[in-house]
């Protein structure tokens, strides 16, 4: 119940954040404006709108998670409101989990809104939408589950600006981990090959969550793959949140 109270409070607080509306506005403009790009694509306008909508959810959702997430705990410490909170009968882990769940609820709402709006827009323009479009949107949310957890972790460790830069770097390189396993031939037999391949399995792999190309081009994706990705997202997020709790418990506030 106490976790829920913190989550509700965080949700209300985040909804008031102006950054959210600026990013939502940009996402809306990108989705609606994608029609213009589609005009010069030999009949590929619907495909381009779907691509841009799903990519918009991913990038704007990540920006919301990063900008709001990295300041989540830090702001409470900076404004000294943390003292009134920890004076309450509330465990520190409850505070961190509550904050995380509150922001997740906001991100879920944002993704739901964007996917519904884009689906309606696509249908109005004569395109077809099936359940895989919403599964792809859900996997975007699963990716953001991980980004949010990482943001909350850095929110307990550093200032919002530094945290946002680090998480953004994680976001970019987390999409590029494939390069670690796709090594050129000159790496054959060297000690660096197993090390880099090991890193591929350890580092968070955000590219796992992208089934956009398959969904937009009508290529089947197995449900077992989707299930594994969901489990991966939940496990990795749990790991980051656990670290965030440990860091916050050690913090001298």
């Amino acid at each position: 119940m106490r976790i829920l109270a913190v989550a509700q409070n965080t949700f209300r607080e985040s909804v008031r954040d102006k950054v959210l509306y600026v990013l939502l506005l940009f996402a809306g403009v990108v989705i609606i404006g994608s029609k213009a790009i589609g005009w010069i694509s030999i009949g590929q306008d619907i495909k381009i709108i779907k691509d841009l909508s799903l990519a918009g959810m991913s990038i704007f959702g990540a920006l919301i998670a990063i900008f709001v997430g990295t300041s989540l705990v830090y702001k409470e410490i900076d404004k000294k409101t943390i003292y009134t909170i920890i004076a309450q009968p509330l465990h520190r882990y409850e505070f961190v989990i509550g904050k995380y769940l509150g922001l997740l609820a906001l991100i879920f709402g944002v993704i739901l809104l964007m996917s519904m709006m884009s689906a309606i827009y696509i249908v109005i323009l004569g395109g077809e939408i099936n359940h895989w479009y919403f599964i792809a949107s859900f996997l975007v949310f699963m990716k953001l589950l991980l980004v949010t957890a990482l943001s909350v972790l850095f929110s307990t460790l550093s200032s919002p600006i530094l945290g946002a830069i680090i998480v953004f770097c994680f976001y970019v390189f987390g999409h590029a981990t494939g390069v670690l396993i796709d090594l050129p031939r000159q790496f054959e037999g060297s000690w660096s090959k197993p090390v880099l391949e090991g890193l591929y399995y350890v580092l968070p792999n955000f590219a796992n969550f992208d089934i956009r190309s398959e969904v937009v081009n009508g290529v089947p994706v197995s449900y077992s793959y989707v299930t594994y990705i969901i489990i991966y997202g939940v496990l990795y997020s749990t790991f980051f949140i656990y670290l965030a709790i440990l860091m916050f418990q050690r913090k001298d506030v």
Partner: protein, 346 residues
């Protein structure tokens, strides 16, 4: 109260903003003219493999934008010096970023073969497309057309075209004219050698999946060759003894000497042909898909299933009914559900 000083100030600010905008537009105009001169150098693209890794999850969006850039580039080259120097690199970058983008393979191969006159690059692009989108009929069809139109002078062009049209028909989604074309060309030419060459080339691919596919296809080619040679022996046997052999052992083969690595079995059909179940099963699936596709088209056109398979021909949905590859089996069609199966002939 109207304040003349404040009014003058506002006019001055407005004037200043307009002057500033005029300068900005002028400078942008100058920059654009620089871009026009340097456009070819600016088309440099990084290594496609690296490009796909460092897009921060925006790979399909970048592929879309690059595809549009590619179309604009084609337009500019048509009205320019017609060299299409960067076309292949751009197309490969697009499909590296979005490997399932079917239209890029299709239109890209048309651009490469008809505008750049580079049919090798077009075929390579289509092979890549066929790997990622094996269910599409139009990619092998385009490859066949390249052999018929752009490589007509080559001695084996019709054979190769026939093979690609057969691949297109095998998807079960090809329009009737492609199926007819495949039948016509395949009757004219012996495709085994050409098929062996094609899969042998694919065996050199760096991609393991492609190599695995080529290995399987090469085994199937060998099985077809064995069937052909054994049928020849069966014919000789028939001429000598005036009857068909019942077992393969009767033509001097032990059951261990001819094993199908794909798990199929060799047998002698009633008409005296040596057949293999791996080949027949694949053909069965292909023909079944073709008829099922016809039934689907029929139901979309007439709002119900045909009462029998003959109706597909009578109402010109199909021009011929694909055969049941097993001699002792027949198609079983249920008009209530529109489902098709294969069963042993009664």
């Amino acid at each position: 109260m109207f304040n003349i000083h404040s009014y003058k100030k506002k006019v001055f600010y407005l004037f200043f903003i307009i002057i500033l905008l005029v300068f900005i537009i002028g400078i942008q105009y100058k920059i654009t003219s620089f871009e026009k001169v340097q456009s070819k150098e600016l088309l440099y693209l990084p290594n496609e493999k690296l490009l796909s890794h460092f897009t921060a999850g925006l790979d399909t969006v970048i592929a879309d934008l690059l595809w549009i850039h590619c179309l604009l580039y084609v337009g500019a080259e048509i009205h320019g010096d017609f060299s299409f120097e960067w076309l292949n690199k751009m197309l490969n970058a697009v499909v590296q970023l979005d490997p399932y983008f079917r239209e890029v393979y299709r239109f890209g191969s048309i651009f490469l073969s008809s505008l750049r006159a580079d049919s090798d690059a077009a075929i390579q692009l289509l092979h890549r497309g066929m790997y990622y989108r094996p269910e599409t009929w139009d990619l092998p069809y385009e490859a066949g057309m390249i052999y018929l139109l752009n490589r007509a002078n080559e001695p084996s062009s019709k054979k190769r075209a026939g093979l690609y049209f057969a691949m297109s028909s095998a998807t079960g989604k090809a329009p009737q004219f492609v199926i007819d074309l495949a039948e016509k060309l395949n009757h004219e030419h012996d495709l085994i050698e050409i098929e062996r060459d094609m899969w042998s080339n694919l065996l050199k691919s760096e991609d393991k999946l492609l190599r695995d596919l080529a290995e399987r296809k090469l085994i199937m080619v060998e099985i077809k060759q064995i069937c052909r040679e054994l049928t020849f022996r069966v014919e000789k046997y028939k001429q000598k003894y005036n009857k068909l052999p019942e077992q393969l052992e009767e033509i001097g083969l032990s059951s261990d000497s001819i094993k199908d690595p794909l798990g199929g079995k060799f047998f002698i059909s009633k008409s005296g042909k040596v057949e293999n179940t791996t080949i027949l099963d694949e053909q069965l699936e292909r023909n079944k898909h073709l008829i099922e596709n016809g039934i689907k088209v029929f139901s979309e056109r007439y709002g119900g299933y045909p009462s029998n398979l003959q109706e597909l021909l009578d109402k010109h949905v199909m021009t011929f009914l694909p055969e049941q590859p097993y001699e002792d089996r027949e198609w079983h069609y249920d008009p209530k559900t529109g489902s098709l199966s294969s069963r042993v002939r009664e």
